[in-house]
């Protein structure tokens, strides 16, 4: 019975995804919400504002700098968590 339930669940989710897929805008469409407001702004001004030609890096390190600082902290916290869980040696 579990297998049947699992199969039905998978089919249901698959059908949902297929249904939602029709709303995805065409690849590279310039008129989607993601490409019109702040995204276009970044592409247009990041070169003269930051003197780096990689827009991804400019967004990562400058426009979304606080977010990236948080990501670094997350990695550091993950390291501490692994140390707390796995260490058996006592002091460093």
């Amino acid at each position: 019975l579990r297998r049947v339930v699992a199969l039905i669940t998978v089919l249901l989710i698959g059908a949902l995804l297929m249904w939602a897929e029709g709303d995805i805008p065409p690849f590279g469409d310039a008129d989607t919400p993601a490409n019109t407001y702040v995204g276009r702004e970044y592409v247009e001004v990041s070169e003269e504002e930051h003197h780096v030609s990689n827009v991804v890096t400019a967004v990562l390190a400058s426009y979304r700098g606080l977010d990236t600082l948080g990501e670094c902290t997350v990695i550091f916290t993950a390291g501490i968590a692994v140390m707390l869980l796995m260490r058996r040696e006592g002091r460093l």
């Binding site: 003269e48 930051h50 990689n54 890096t57 700098g65 902290t73 550091f76 993950a78 692994v82 140390m83």
Partner: protein
């Protein structure tokens, strides 16, 4: 040291190239694909390759766990420190274009982006190596 001599020799020869490529990816993040996270993982790969090919003690001669933790904490502090320095010069937190270097503002920002990328890279390297080292520490005690 438990692995084959071929494994050890090839890894030893490959590690400098992997590290050079990792540093290249970190340093080139501003102008092409790449950046701190990717380059940091490549750098960490070279150290993990050393752990696999030799053993944990070999890595610990190069960098103890304490060193790795200090490196990763120091890089986060560098990043946060850049934010605090820009507060000092009257801008918003992490608005590092305000730091008065003898350069035009966009170039100051570009420079700071490179510093931040390097900090991210060393942080990722240290933490990845540190996680693998910690996971192996337990194993080595049981055997």
């Amino acid at each position: 040291v438990t692995t084959d001599v071929v494994t050890r020799t090839v890894s030893r020869a490959a590690v400098p190239f992997v590290q050079l490529f990792g540093l290249y990816v970190i340093a080139h993040g501003g102008s092409s694909a790449g950046g701190g996270f990717q380059g940091g993982v490549i750098l960490a790969t070279s150290l993990i390759l050393l752990i696999i090919a030799f053993d944990l003690q070999y890595l610990k001669r190069l960098a103890t766990e304490r060193t790795l933790i200090v490196v990763s904490a120091a890089s986060i502090l560098t990043y946060a420190g850049i934010g605090l320095v820009s507060l000092l010069f009257g801008a918003n937190y992490l608005d590092y274009g305000a730091v008065p270097l003898p350069l035009p503002v966009p170039e100051v920002r570009g420079l700071m982006i490179e510093v931040i990328e390097a900090a991210i890279g060393f942080n990722v390297t240290a933490v990845m190596t540190w996680i693998v080292a910690d996971m192996l520490t337990k194993d080595e005690e049981n055997t």
